[in-house]
Amino acid sequence: MKRLAVLAIGVLVLCGIVFADNPLLINGAGATFPYPIYSKWFDTYHTKFPNVQFNYQSVGSGAGIKQVTEGTVDFGATDGPMNDDQLKAYQDKHGFGILHFPTVLGAAVPTYNIAGVSGSLNFTAEAMAGIFLGKITKWNDPAIAGPNKGVNLPATDIVVVHRSDGSGTTYIWTDYLSKVSDEWKSKVGKGTSVNWPVGLGGKGNEGVTGLVKQTPNAIGYVELIYAAQNNIPYGAVKNAAGAFVKADLASVTAAAASAAKEMPDDFRVSITNAAGKNAYPISSFTWLLIPSKFSDAGKRDAIKGFLKWMIADGQGSVEALSYAKLPKEVAEKEKKAIDKVM
C-alpha cells in the first residue's frame, strides 16, 4: 500500500512537471565562432524578457545548417553562408526559403603556442598557406622567420590544429587561403569541412583553442575572442595592401567597409582578403539562419523581437567581447529585411 502511495505521488508530481506552464523555448544551433556573444545576448535577453528562452547550442556551423534544414532546431547560425545547393535543398524540403541575418563582424586569427614567443608573429599569405598545406614544417622556416626578424623561432616541428567538425570558422579560413594560394584552392578548396593535408582536429573553436593551449609548437585558427579570453598569443597577417595587420575592432570594421556599401539583398558576402590598408584579411560576418515562415506565431514574434533588439541594443555589448559592430548601412538594410519573416 505504501509503495502504491509513493508511486501515485510520483506520477502526480511528474504530471505537474510535464504540464506546467513553461516559458517559450526557442532552440537554435550552429557556429562556435560567435558563441561568446550569442550566449551573452541570449542571457541578457532572457533577463529582459523572462518568458522567452533562447537555447543556443554551439555545435559548429555545419551542424547548424544541417539541423535547421532538418527542422530539428528553430534557427541556425553559421559563419560560412549557405551555398546555392544548400539553399535549394532547404527550399525543396520546406516549401519556403531561409534567410541570412548578419549579427556581428569577427576575425579568425592564427594562434600559436611556441616556447619563448609571447608576442605577435607576422605571417605572409605564402607562409600561412604553406603551414596549413604541410609544406612548411618547422617554425624557423625562412618563410616564417623572414618577416619576424628579432624573434627567436625554434627549429621544432609545427603542429597544425584545425577543426574536426563542420565549421564556419574553417570556411572563413579556407576561403581566405583559396583567395591567396592557387595551390590551396586546387588541392583543398573552401568549405565548412575540408580534407586537411595535415594536422590535429579539435571540436569547435573551444576545442581548437584547448588543443593549441596544451600542445607545444601548435598553431590553429580561432575566433579572436577565444585567443584573447585564454591569453594565448595570436599573429598579424599580411593583407592585400601589403601591410601586416593584427585583428582588432578597427581592422575588422575596415575589412567590411566596401562590402557594407554593396551588400546583396540576401546578405551573403565574403570579406576575406579585403582591399584597404587597414583591413584585417581574415574577417567575416556571421549570420543567423532564420526560416522565412513560422507556423508557430509565438516563436516567430519572439525571433523577430530578438532580431530587432539585436540590431539596436544588442550591438552595444559586442565590442566588449572583441567583435565589431555591424556597419550602419547593413543594420539599416537588415531592419527592413526582418519583415520578410512571416
Binding site: 555545435v59 575540408v194 590535429l200
Partner: protein, 321 residues
C-alpha cells in the same frame, strides 16, 4: 479461486483466458517480442540508411583513405585502421595485466581477498567513458608527450611505429585509455573461467612435482584457454565501440599513419563528431555505413566470445572428479 488442477488438454482457450493466465502469457510475450522488434528495426535502419554509399563505393569503401565532404568522396580506411590499431594496443597492454591479475585472484588470493578485489574491479568497469576521457585529456596526454614519447622515441625512433613527432594525442594514448577500460572485463571473465577449472587438474600437476606457478601456467591456464580467449574477444568488442574516451584523446585526424604517436580517428569517434552536421545524403549515409560496420564487428566478436566462454565453463563442470 477458480479451480486450476493439473493442466489438461480439455481446458479451452477461453477458460484459460478467464483465469488470466493466457492474458499474462500474451502480455509478457508482447513485451518479449518488443525486444526482438527493436533489434530487427535497428538492423533494418542501419542497412537501408546506408544504401547510397554501398551502391556508390561498394567494397572500395573499405580501402579508400580519402574522407572529403567537399568532393563527396568517402573512404572508411582511416577509421577502420584507427579502430583496430587502438584496440590492438589496448589489448597488448590489458591482456597480460588482466590475465596476471585473474590468475592471482583465482589461484592465489584467499577467497575473501579475491572477492573484495573483484568487487573493486567490478566498480572499475562501472566508470563511464567520459570520465576516462577526462583523465585521458588531463593526465595521460601530458604524460605521453613528456615521458612516454621521449622514452620510446629516443632509443627506438628509427622504427616506423615509434616515429615522432608526438602531440600527446594519438593512437598510443587512445590505446592506453582503452586498456584501462577493458582490463576489468578480462579480469572478471578470466577469473570465473579459471575458478571453474576442476581442482584435480591442479592437484595432479602439483602431485607430479610442479611448482605452483608451473601448475597454474602449464595446466590450469591452458585448460581455461578458450574461455580466456573469450574474455579477450569481449574486451575487444568493448574497445571497438568506445566513443567518448577515444575521441577526446585520439587527435581526430582521418589519416592512416604508421607511427603510434600519430593522431588518428576511429569509427565511433567520427560518427560522434560529424553525425549532426553531415549535410547531403551520401555524407550522412557513409557515416551510417560506418556504424553498420562497427555493429557487425562487435556482433561477431560478442558471439564468438560467448561461445568460447560457454564451451570452457561447460568443459570444466563436465570433467569427472
Amino acid at each position: 479461486m477458480k479451480g486450476a488442477g493439473p493442466s489438461a488438454g480439455s481446458r479451452t482457450f477461453f477458460s484459460k483466458l478467464r483465469e488470466g493466465d493466457e492474458i499474462a502469457r500474451l502480455v509478457t510475450m508482447i513485451f518479449a517480442a518488443t525486444v526482438v522488434v527493436i533489434v530487427a528495426a535497428l538492423v533494418w535502419e542501419l542497412w537501408t540508411n546506408s544504401a547510397l554509399p554501398r551502391q556508390k563505393f561498394g567494397f572500395h569503401f573499405f580501402v579508400t583513405e580519402v574522407w572529403d565532404p567537399i568532393a563527396d568522396q568517402y573512404g572508411a580506411l582511416p577509421f577502420v585502421y584507427g579502430t583496430l590499431v587502438t584496440s590492438i594496443v589496448a589489448l597488448l597492454i590489458a591482456v597480460p595485466l588482466g590475465i596476471g591479475a585473474a590468475i592471482f585472484l583465482a589461484e592465489l588470493a584467499p577467497p575473501r581477498v579475491s572477492d573484495t578485489l573483484q568487487f573493486f574491479i567490478d566498480l572499475l568497469a562501472a566508470v563511464p567513458s567520459v570520465i576516462y576521457g577526462l583523465l585521458g585529456v588531463f593526465i595521460i596526454v601530458p604524460v605521453m608527450r613528456t615521458v612516454i614519447f621521449p622514452a620510446l622515441n629516443t632509443p627506438f625512433g628509427f622504427l616506423p611505429i615509434f616515429k615522432g613527432p608526438s602531440y600527446g594525442v594519438g593512437f598510443f594514448t587512445a590505446g592506453i585509455v582503452l586498456a584501462i577500460m577493458v582490463i576489468p572485463y578480462i579480469i572478471s571473465v578470466s577469473r570465473e573461467v579459471l575458478l571453474s577449472v576442476p581442482r584435480d587438474q591442479r592437484e595432479a600437476a602439483l602431485a607430479l612435482g610442479s611448482t605452483r606457478w608451473e601448475s597454474t601456467w602449464k595446466v590450469v591456464v591452458p585448460f581455461a584457454r578458450t574461455g580466456i580467449m573469450g574474455s579477450i574477444f569481449l574486451a575487444l568488442a568493448r574497445a571497438l565501440g568506445e566513443t567518448m574516451a577515444v575521441t577526446m584523446v585520439i587527435g581526430n585526424t582521418p589519416k592512416v599513419a604508421a607511427s603510434l604517436f600519430a593522431p588518428g580517428y576511429s569509427i565511433a569517434a567520427v560518427i560522434a563528431n560529424e553525425f549532426t552536421e553531415a549535410t547531403g545524403d551520401l555524407y550522412l549515409q557513409s557515416l551510417i555505413e560506418l556504424g553498420l560496420v562497427l555493429f557487425l564487428l562487435t556482433f561477431i566478436l560478442n558471439g564468438l566470445a560467448r561461445i568460447l566462454i560457454i564451451v570452457t565453463t561447460q568443459k570444466g563442470s563436465g570433467v569427472a572428479g
